[in-house]
């Protein structure tokens, strides 16, 4: 088989047994890889109604056919499981170097079942596979864990692990790889912690065969050079990483400010990419085979917030910065470092703190519950509370459940800015309405990574569209969701893919990507068959949600987005007209009026066996 190995490693942590599944080419091609393979296995092998922190939850690490190949940004993997935060699916994506090394072991996917009796880690060096004790690692933060593991295994191995966040079952704990890269969203770290699995360490020497190496090399080298030339000439993603975004979203009035009370932040001057570059940036940092190098190696020397690491990304600047009313970049970066060291999702952590800030200021949470007067704009509070969250200590115990459970417990669920209980990312959908529909219909709860139509509504890629209208948005959100499912399944990074692996038209037509996939796999993918595969993946995920008990009633947005107009900025007066967007979305998706895929749709996608009765 080309591009794929066709091999899946199964690890039963309860029985401590390890086995291998083989997949055939038809399966490989139909479900693409990564996110597609994983959801097929989840649907076939687990009961979606189980507790996400029980041994019955399956956790899957999944690479794609292009992971580890010469395809530029072919360096991603996904962690797929049932989420303890949302009760829905999670597929959480990460890059760096671990995914490529995992693919080099000769396995496309690792499946983890059951629960180990005591903490363990998995060490995979090609076909030498061991479950080893991790009791000496339990309690250690992410960098310490990785450093110790590399001395015990191989200094050139790559590590994915949890920190105290995952060990303590924080509902938005992340899995960190290469110390600073995060499979961040929806609590995958808590799932791993619930299994007593501290880390996965990989080192591989297996080649990744491709069908047409000369054509693939030529095509991909030309693309890498084209992108590299843009970046070397001062491209914004190389110069700033994603920290170029705050002034843009602020200009558009969609930068989450004080728990989404508004979209313009008076402290914007303190949280721009220029501030990072002038004071904290050491150098840009690429993932494997990436010509962009959007990663940031940074350091803070201010003794109060001192630290060193990677980031922050835009999402962290929004969640810990403007959403919390904080314009102290050193404090934001410190919070970011803590989340990476503890293994916490920066988006959910920061946005949960923001929710708590609003509730505290309005008197809905007594001060004695928190231990100090909590208010927007306090840079020390975001540090203190992040420590507490990781160890579920003090008020952190409540914050660790996420903003939905926090706000509900104090009688004000309307102040939790979430969809399917997951905190919004950094785009206020009242000023970017396609994003509103995306948050409501994402299979993993509110997430920009499920089909980031902000690429068009905000960033002009492939083309700029008006974010304040709703015409055609249902069609475009569907296309973005299907396209992102394809990108995730192939193992590519969206930053390069949306701009260079799709034609330059709003409707995201994957002409270059189809070529790359043909050269790599040997299958005669077309643009349409790729998008059909993405739609197949999306519908399988939807069926998982429906079986888990999630319904069209959950395809909604918080009260603030539906009923409280933006008070200022270019989107002043706007809300999200979800009552008009959602029915059209169901129609475009080929679902019935209550959001269930029809027989006709499932027949078309050749997944009829999953039709709900």
């Amino acid at each position: 088989m080309n591009a794929w190995h066709g091999k899946i490693l199964r690890v039963n942590l309860t029985t401590k047994t390890i086995s291998t599944d083989l997949v055939d080419q038809e399966f490989a091609a139909k479900y693409l890889g990564g996110r597609g393979w994983a959801i097929k296995y989840l649907l076939d092998e687990m009961d979606p109604t189980v507790d996400a922190l029980s041994p019955e939850n399956m956790m899957i690490f999944a690479t794609g056919p292009l992971t580890g190949t010469i395809a530029p940004t072919g360096n991603r993997y996904m962690v797929v499981a049932k989420s303890p935060l949302t009760g829905a699916l999670t597929n959480s994506n990460s890059g760096g170097f671990f995914p490529t090394e995992m693919k080099r072991t000769g396995y496309d996917m690792f499946i983890f079942e059951g629960r180990a009796e005591t903490p363990v880690y998995l060490w995979v060096m090609d076909d030498n596979i061991e479950l080893r004790s991790a009791e000496h690692l339990w309690g250690k933060n992410v960098p310490e864990t990785e450093d110790i593991l590399l001395t015990e295994t191989d200094p050139k191995a790559k590590v994915a692990c949890i920190g105290p966040g995952g060990e303590n079952l924080v509902l938005f704990a992340s899995i960190m790889n290469d110390k600073h890269r995060a499979a961040g969203r929806s609590g995958v770290g808590a799932v791993m912690g619930s299994k007593n699995l501290k880390a996965v360490v990989v080192k591989g020497s297996q080649k990744i065969a491709v069908a047409h190496p000369d054509e693939l090399n030529s095509f991909c080298k030309a693309m890498s050079k084209k992108v590299g030339d843009v970046m070397n000439a001062g491209g914004a993603m190389r110069v700033y990483g994603t920290s170029y975004v705050p002034p843009i979203t602020n200009e558009m009035g969609i930068l989450p400010t004080r728990n989404f009370q508004t979209g313009t932040f008076e402290g914007i001057a303190g949280i721009t990419g220029d501030v990072i570059n002038e004071k904290y940036l050491k150098k840009p940092k690429p993932c494997f085979r990436c010509p962009i190098a959007c990663g940031r190696d940074t350091r803070v020397d201010d003794p109060k917030y001192a630290g060193e690491g990677e980031g922050p990304e835009y999402e962290t600047i929004a969640s810990y910065g403007s959403a919390c009313g904080v314009d102290n970049m050193a404090a934001i970066i410190k919070a970011n470092y803590l989340c990476n060291e503890y293994g916490l999702d920066t988006i959910s952590a920061g946005m949960t703190i923001a929710c708590a800030m609003e509730m505290a200021e309005k008197g809905f949470i007594p001060e004695n519950k928190i231990g100090f007067q909590l208010k927007f704009g306090d840079p020390d509070a975001i540090i203190t509370l992040t420590h507490q969250i990781a160890f579920q200590k003090g008020f952190g115990r409540e914050l660790a459940q996420g903003s939905y459970r926090l706000a509900t417990s104090y009688g004000h669920p309307e102040l939790s800015v979430t969809a399917k209980k997951q905190e919004f990312p950094g785009y206020d959908p009242r000023g970017s309405k396609g994003m509103g529909l995306l948050y409501a219909t994402s299979n993993i709860g509110a997430s920009h990574m499920s089909g980031d139509i902000a690429y068009s509504e905000v960033f002009g890629t492939p083309k700029k569209i008006d974010p304040l209208t709703i015409e055609n948005k249902a069609e475009l959100v569907k296309r973005f969701e299907d396209a992102f499912a394809v990108i995730d399944a192939t193992g590519l990074c969206v930053f390069l893919s949306v701009r260079y692996m799709f034609e330059d038209k709003v409707e995201l037509w994957p002409t270059p990507l189809a070529e790359v996939m043909k050269f790599a796999t040997g299958f005669q993918y077309t643009q349409q068959t790729l998008l059909d595969a993405g739609e197949r993946i999306y519908n399988l995920e939807r069926l998982f949600l429906l079986r888990a008990g999630i319904s069209s009633e959950d395809d909604t947005l918080p009260h603030r987005m539906l009923n409280e107009p933006l008070p200022d900025g270019p989107g002043k007066g706007h809300i999200v007209e979800l009552d008009r967007l959602l029915p059209r979305f169901y129609e475009v998706r080929g679902w019935n009026a209550i959001g269930v895929p029809t027989k006709e749709k499932l027949d078309f996608l050749d997944i009829s066996q999953y039709q709900l009765n």
Partner: protein
């Protein structure tokens, strides 16, 4: 007087005491690496300039060597540019490179 002549003969600062006549003040905000196209002594990412009434933002951006759409995103007062719509007094033209998200 052509627009380009007007620009070349005037300093890039807020002009005070000038009889506005057929001119108006607009604000130019360049984000991300486009910021480098502003005059060297600019503090921040925004300047105020005097332009003829009825000017179009695309022309102004061309004078600052900003690539046109679709390579750039152009906002007027934070909203998506409407083609063929001239600028008004005090409008904020914002431009940044079209790229990925975050």
């Amino acid at each position: 007087m052509t627009l380009s002549t007007c620009f070349l003969n005037q300093p890039f600062v807020l002009l005070k005491g000038l009889d506005k006549g057929f001119f108006m003040h607009v604000h130019l905000k360049l984000l991300a690496n486009y910021k480098n196209q502003l005059p060297p002594d600019t503090s921040g990412n925004q300047i105020t300039i005097l332009v003829p009434e009825g000017s179009f933002p695309e022309i102004i951006l061309e004078l600052f060597s900003i690539p046109p759409i679709p390579e750039s995103v152009i906002l007027i007062n934070g909203k998506t540019l409407c083609p063929d719509e001239p600028l008004q007094e005090d409008d904020v033209i914002c431009a940044f490179p079209a790229m990925a998200g975050g």
